[in-house]
């Protein structure tokens, strides 16, 4: 990760705002956010936690959405599955996006189940032409319903299919081109997958269509030596910040969001770690 970078490119092609630095909204922080109204740029919600419920989470989201910009991030769209697209789910996403005035809606380049069964996991895609075309058609269908571009995130993966004929970044670039979708670039996932599959994160960054990137994710992971697991635990480690810095050499104007999902500390600790992004963004800007 030491190669010189080309000059940064401004903004994204969708005209979506750079929301600044946010954190993932988690239920353990509800009370703090409502009572203290901390000075944070924005929140990302896990869409699925506010679907098929009409209780406390929705009421709290309504209050938070009144005060902060919200982006929706889902885990169950299953955009790459060969099962029929769940149109009820997509319509529910649309209803939720309007209710919380979501800046954008994202999910993952993955599938979660097949044959009517749901694994509730982000399963890896075979990176083939067939999968690319299949996914692109479904992205278009989702965008038509949502009436907005869909943002797709690169997942952490632990296995690759022998049938794959392209890299993940080639797949994502082609998917953006064919479907018109945008990207949520998770730099922790780039690191995790690079460790698991043995590619250079810089090659990944060099292959990304930067005008499609509207958001970054940063997070922690667990390093098991032989491989890494995307656990969203602990402070963001240095190699992930370095990839974020490298990413900002290529793209300015994308929002940054910290995900912390295991052993979640108090709000201030999470927020402080998120704000460390400023240093790496500034370093990228000064180097550009």
């Amino acid at each position: 990760m030491t190669r010189p970078r080309a000059a940064a490119k401004p903004g994204n092609r969708f005209g979506l705002p750079n929301l600044g630095i946010g954190i993932g909204l988690r239920s353990v922080h509800y009370q703090h956010v409502l009572e203290k109204q901390p000075g944070i740029d924005w929140f990302e919600i896990i869409s699925d936690n506010y679907m098929q419920t009409s209780g406390r989470p929705m009421a709290i989201l309504d209050q938070i959405a009144e005060r902060y910009p919200i982006a929706m991030h889902g885990v169950s769209l299953s955009i790459g599955s060969t099962d029929p697209l769940d149109l009820t789910y997509v319509n529910d996403l649309k209803i939720l996006s309007r209710r919380c005035k979501a800046q954008w809606v994202s999910d993952h380049l993955c599938w979660t189940g097949v044959m009517g069964r749901n694994s509730h996991d982000l399963l890896p895609m075979p990176l083939t032409e067939e999968a690319l075309e299949h996914t692109a058609q479904r992205v278009k269908q989702v965008q038509d319903i949502l009436e907005m571009p869909l943002m797709l995130e690169n997942p952490s993966t632990y296995v690759e299919f022998a049938a794959s004929t392209m890299t993940e970044w080639e797949f994502l670039s082609a998917l953006c081109e064919r479907s018109g979708c945008g990207l949520l670039l998770d730099v922790n996932n780039i690191y995790v997958s690079s460790r698991n599959h043995g590619f250079d994160p810089i090659d990944y960054l060099d292959g990304v269509p930067w005008d499609r990137v509207v958001q970054f994710h940063v997070a922690g992971h667990t390093d098991n030596g032989t491989h890494c697991v995307d656990t969203h635990i602990g402070p963001v480690p240095s190699p992930v910040w370095e990839i974020l810095r490298q990413a900002h050499l290529r793209s300015i104007g994308a929002a940054v969001l910290l995900e912390w999902d295991a052993d979640i500390p108090e709000f201030g600790v999470v927020h402080k770690d998120a704000l460390r992004a400023r240093r790496f963004i500034a370093a990228a800007k000064s180097a550009a």
């Binding site: 896990i46 885990v75 189940g113 509730h120 996991d121 299919f161 022998a162 049938a163 667990t222």
Partner: protein, 353 residues
């Protein structure tokens, strides 16, 4: 745990405490593989033996060589790959890449070279261990979800029996929807159909019924409810023919066991034994965003059940009187009961007079 309301004349004091206070993790999250990491770290020392016997037989020090990839004649296609992958990671059996071990065949899913050949081999981690990350996460996530919905059932059964119950639920009733908020229903359905012989099965099923009600009420849509002022404004002559619609945020249960008392004892950090059969009735309801449980006397339960079934007040009172002829004067208490039930939001604002 939250406090108790002031006891009222209508019956035992209702008790607060529901799923909102016991959610231990974000139901849906983008960390699908959080658990395998924990598992891996926990098994670093003694651990490898817990993995597939094929691996353990080689010993902890010797990492198994990557399985040889089998060249495929052609791309098997997206649908084939997804079905094959899904079948592997959702298997109730442990994964192994090795043939043999006939003594354990029932516990192992031995992947063929053709199956392993669907995936790229790499030096840093064998394919079987890569697949195991997903295989483990699938079951762990659903067990976490069920444990979150049924903490008292887990306590009553013990961790090992609860995990066995969850494994059976996951195998026979896999999740078929996108949202984990509703998956917990599968455990209750499984108990009710007696698909697994559990110790204290009847009690466990009733306990699961109570806990699932709390989750249902937590997620239910709150609607306008009938107020005390509206109740008092109704002319007496209209009462006999009135019907009352139940609120979406209330459930009434009659049990053969004192399950609410057991649940409360567990929440009070006691170590309650599985109780003997003793009839009980409990209302589970939500006020604001807090879940409450109210024990009901038998006549109360009969009256509420009749009303919730759409019976008009007069015949519902008749049914109660007929069921408890040895308790004269019950009707004199009805106004007090109603006041408490209305205050607690039991009735939706839909009245036929």
């Amino acid at each position: 745990m939250s406090g108790k309301k002031t006891p009222t004349a209508s019956g035992p004091a209702p008790t607060a405490g529901g799923p909102a206070e016991i959610l231990h993790f974000e139901r849906a999250s983008a960390t699908p593989s959080a658990e395998p990491a924990v598992r891996t770290s926990r098994r670093t020392a003694a651990t490898v033996t817990k993995r597939s016997s094929a691996v353990s037989r080689r010993g902890a020090a010797a990492r198994p060589a990557p399985a040889p990839a089998v060249a495929l004649a052609a791309d098997p296609g997206l649908d084939h790959l997804q079905r094959a992958f899904h079948g592997i990671i959702t298997s109730p059996r442990r994964l192994t890449a090795c043939c043999g071990t006939p003594a354990h065949d029932g516990e192992l899913l031995t992947l063929s070279p053709e199956q392993l050949g669907l995936f790229k081999a790499a030096d840093n981690l064998p394919v079987i261990e890569r697949l195991d990350v997903y295989h483990y996460a699938y079951k762990a996530r659903l067990i976490d979800c069920l444990a979150d919905d049924y903490p008292t059932v887990k306590h009553a059964l013990g961790a090992a029996a609860f995990d066995a119950l969850c494994a059976a639920v996951i195998e026979h009733r896999p999740s078929r929807g996108p949202n984990l908020n509703v998956y917990g229903r599968a455990l209750l359905d499984h108990c009710r159909e007696d698909a697994l012989r559990l110790p204290s099965h009847a009690f466990i099923t009733e306990l699961a019924t109570l806990e699932w009600s709390m989750t249902e009420v937590f997620h239910a849509e709150a609607a306008a409810t009938f107020s005390l002022e509206q109740l008092r404004a109704i002319p007496m002559e209209q009462w006999a023919a009135m019907t009352f619609a139940p609120s979406q945020t209330v459930r009434i249960h009659r049990f053969a066991y004192p399950v609410n008392a057991y649940l409360q004892a567990y929440r009070d950090e006691q170590e309650p034994p599985v109780p003997r059969a003793k009839a009980s009735a409990t209302a589970v309801y939500r006020m604001g965003f807090k879940i409450w449980r109210m024990d009901l006397t038998p006549p109360m339960a009969v009256l509420l059940e009749a009303l919730f079934a759409g019976t008009a007040l007069a015949p519902a009172l008749d049914a109660m009187g007929a069921a408890y002829p040895d308790q004269p004067g019950l009707e004199a208490s009805v106004m007090t009961w109603f006041s408490e039930w209305v205050r607690s939001g039991f009735f939706a604002l839909q009245i036929d007079a």
